[in-house]
Amino acid sequence: MDDWLGLYAGQNEDKFRTRTFFAVDRDSLQLHGYFTTVFGEVKPGAELDGIAVSNYVKPAFLIARLAVHQKSQGRGIGKLMLGEALRKALGASESAGLEMVIVDAIDNNAIAFYGRFGFIRFDSESNRMFMTMKQLKASL
């Protein structure tokens, strides 16, 4: 991350169901933000039953929560954490198949934030956004 900012893995989350990483000031140990990751999958919903779509379950890397402490906003910490989370997705895709990264944007600001880095909304109503691994790897 940055020189002054360290990323620490949480220890005891949900019996390994999820992982949470904390962005902490190396000197003051102040917590600036965190993100949680988990694997997930995407599949066509029931309304697509009987329509010829590929029925494969698509494996996804979910950035389930990414939050910056109110006092720490405007310092690029969210951006750094997103970069770290995407690095983790890239690392995971070396070990097992992954087709995309998914984020849940909390509001319009977050939608714009993720959009700047190429995340696409699933539809115009949705706060859920994705980026294909293909796209991510092409930007390495």
């Binding site: 991350m1 599949k43 919903g45 779509v53 770290e84 995407l86 190429g118 859920r128």
Partner: protein, 89 residues
């Protein structure tokens, strides 16, 4: 360990139906109800990272997966920024 209580009121009709089902399952009423509720709870928790897409969403995804890749300069810069910090944690 059974050290807490759930109190609930149910209609006689529901009570009879659940009791009959528990008998079929050869379980006492409590075991039956707790296992049924746990099954549902497990499924809900497990499903929270399974996304079922609508037709519109699915098509958008398929398009992106099969379409050409457009490298994003901001994303490239972001990944460069985090590359320098291999010694994290």
């Amino acid at each position: 360990m059974t050290d807490s209580r759930i109190n609930m009121r149910v209609s006689t009709k529901n009570h009879e139906e659940i009791k009959a089902a528990a008998q079929l399952a050869e379980q006492d009423l409590t075991t039956f109800m707790v296992s049924a509720a746990l099954e549902k709870a497990d499924r809900l928790v497990a499903d929270s990272n399974i996304f079922r897409l609508t037709a519109v969403e699915y098509l958008a995804l398929e398009r992106a997966l099969s379409g050409p890749v457009v490298p994003n300069p901001r994303l490239r810069e972001l990944l460069k920024l985090t590359k320098a910090s291999a010694g994290l944690s």
